[in-house]
């Protein structure tokens, strides 16, 4: 054995190939089976996709690096389950491409933050976190309120997501920009289509408190308010495991 290794480590190409071969075992054993083992991803047939406005908010969440301090992954630990709710399931992230589980937990986990606080609170908190939580160390994101949301390319974002496997329909993609506007303008003629295309349970309101304007704040708050609300698979799963 020592002689074999002595020979191997003196052959540059042979040694590189051996390293690639050994590290591939890890990938083969840990990643490949996720595609063949059925129970890796649970089933959630009633799960809805993100609306265009929520997709825009998700893009802002990624752009501003929120995932660097906030996880969206409630682990199977008692303290997390008691604080945040049922542990996260893989299926809950099936339309998150890329997923935003995160692992740095400077701020609280956001996997089930949807509906937990009011829109006004989110707006006040994003403009200046210290205004509502004095001990917060979160940066201010006041410009979101001043920046108009770019909706022109949302259809393309949805189309790109569809290429990755998110089941957007043609009409959803064609109406993306109008739906983004409508979701934050409940009194506009565009609001009705949002419920039609994404389900009546979709939040349609002026998320930033200003009905006439569509800002990045609207998008981010709409996204935060739907986290954990796309499916109730996790609640069902917990109830089933408890029996």
């Amino acid at each position: 054995m020592p002689n074999f290794h002595r020979k191997l480590e003196r052959s540059a190409i042979g040694f590189v190939l051996a390293i690639i071969g050994v590290s591939a075992i890890g990938g083969f054993v840990e990643i490949a089976p996720l595609f063949t083992i059925q129970e890796t991803v649970e089933k959630a047939p009633d799960m809805r996709v993100y609306t265009p406005l929520e997709t825009a908010g998700r893009n802002i969440y990624i752009r501003e690096g929120c995932y660097a301090c906030h996880s969206q992954m409630i682990r199977t630990l008692r303290d997390e389950v008691e604080r945040y709710g049922p542990y996260s399931l893989a299926v809950e992230s099936q339309y998150d491409k890329p997923m935003l589980w995160g692992s740095k937990r400077t701020g609280p986990d956001l996997a089930r933050v949807g509906g937990k606080y009011s829109d006004q609170w989110h707006v006040a908190h994003l403009i200046n976190p210290r205004a509502v939580v004095p001990q917060s160390v979160m940066p201010k994101y006041g410009w979101l309120m001043r920046t108009e949301l770019n909706t022109a390319d949302l259809g393309q974002h949805l189309a790109a997501q569809r290429k990755l496997g998110v089941p957007y329909t043609e009409t959803q993609i064609a109406n993306a920009s109008a739906d983004a506007y409508g979701q934050a303008s409940p009194d506009s003629p565009y609001a009705g289509g949002v419920g039609e295309r994404y389900g009546e349970a979709t939040n349609v309101r002026a998320f930033d408190g200003e009905p006439g304007r569509l800002t990045e704040m609207d998008a981010l708050v709409a996204y935060l308010q739907v986290l954990g609300k796309l499916t109730d698979a996790a609640h069902k799963q917990t109830a089933a495991t408890g029996k």
């Binding site: 054993v29 063949t36 083992i37 542990y87 509906g115 937990k116 609170w121 908190h125 495991t241």
Partner: protein
């Protein structure tokens, strides 16, 4: 292996290579490292057998111990709940008045309530319950919808202007923005509203009081009452006390009358259990003691 020779100083063999007169000792890996390598390998084999480990195409080895993280955490949560059941079941079953009269139970309410409140309510109402601009002070004794535990529990359950179908609903109309009152009228009723709580008014404000009183009688009494004491059935605040959710200075009151107000409290039914809501309702009642 060309010119491997024994190093005279250490007595070990060299690798046989020589670079500019520098040679390298061929020191073997220390035995203790090999020992730990072997120990780690044995541990891994034991772990593979006992725990879920190896993929087998469509399934995977479940491990001899049959441990599943999800079952473990569910069981831990259930065990913790069972441990607390000695007093949580009494909270669930007894009436608010009986719990309030039981010092031992109220100690649990204070201890557990503090954590529950900080996790769920504190971000808006403050960890001390004193609220902030737009978020009512729960330690002041001034209540929008009523301060007895039953009413507080109901508010927590359904929320205010929330997405629950049973939500409490209240809205201060935008009298100025929607053109119900003109600017002079809003200014006048601002002065009158501020006078109700005995605030010192400027001379100019005092001059507006008679007009303000008329505007108040015509527009505000339906919700705030003839004396401005508010109506808890409608969630209309008492204007005669010194507690202001949106500020009691002239500018804030003017803004409230001009643009209206509509606070929003999420509903907690579904997110919190019935016992937790009951406990929080009692805990909120104790906040006033701490504020003193």
């Amino acid at each position: 292996m060309d010119h491997a020779e024994r190093d005279p100083v250490t007595g070990r063999m060299t690798t046989g290579h020589e670079w500019n007169g520098i040679e390298e000792l061929d020191t073997p890996v220390p035995r203790v490292v090999l020992f730990f390598l072997a120990a780690a390998t044995l541990f891994a084999i034991g772990y593979w057998l006992l725990m879920p480990a190896w993929p087998l195409g469509w399934t995977y080895t479940k491990g001899l111990l049959g441990i599943d993280q999800r079952q473990v955490v569910t069981q831990q949560v259930q065990e913790a709940a069972a441990e607390r059941a000695s007093w949580t079941s009494r909270i669930e079953q007894t009436s608010f008045a009986e719990i309030a009269a039981d010092p031992a139970l109220m100690r649990h309410v204070r201890d557990t309530g503090r954590t529950l409140f900080a996790d769920n309510c504190g971000v808006c109402h403050g960890t001390d319950g004193k609220g902030g601009p737009g978020y009512p002070n729960l330690a002041s004794g001034a209540w929008l919808w009523g301060g007895d535990p039953e009413t507080i529990a109901q508010t927590i359950r359904v929320g205010i202007n929330s997405t629950s179908k049973d939500t409490r609903a209240a809205q201060m109309l935008a009298f100025g923005r929607d053109g119900v009152l003109d600017r002079a009228q809003v200014l006048a009723v601002t002065a009158y509203a501020r006078s109700l709580s005995g605030q010192t008014l400027l001379e100019a404000e005092q001059a507006r009081l008679p007009a303000g009183k008329e505007v108040f009688a015509a527009n505000c009494v339906a919700c705030h009452g003839t004396e401005g004491k508010g109506m808890r059935d409608l969630g209309a605040p008492d204007l005669t006390d010194t507690v202001w959710t949106y500020g009691g200075d002239a500018q804030s009151v003017y803004a409230s009358i001009h643009s209206g107000r509509q606070g929003h409290m999420p509903h907690w039914e579904g997110r919190l259990s019935a016992a937790e809501i009951k406990l929080l309702a009692l805990y909120v009642g104790t906040l006033k003691e701490g504020a003193r």
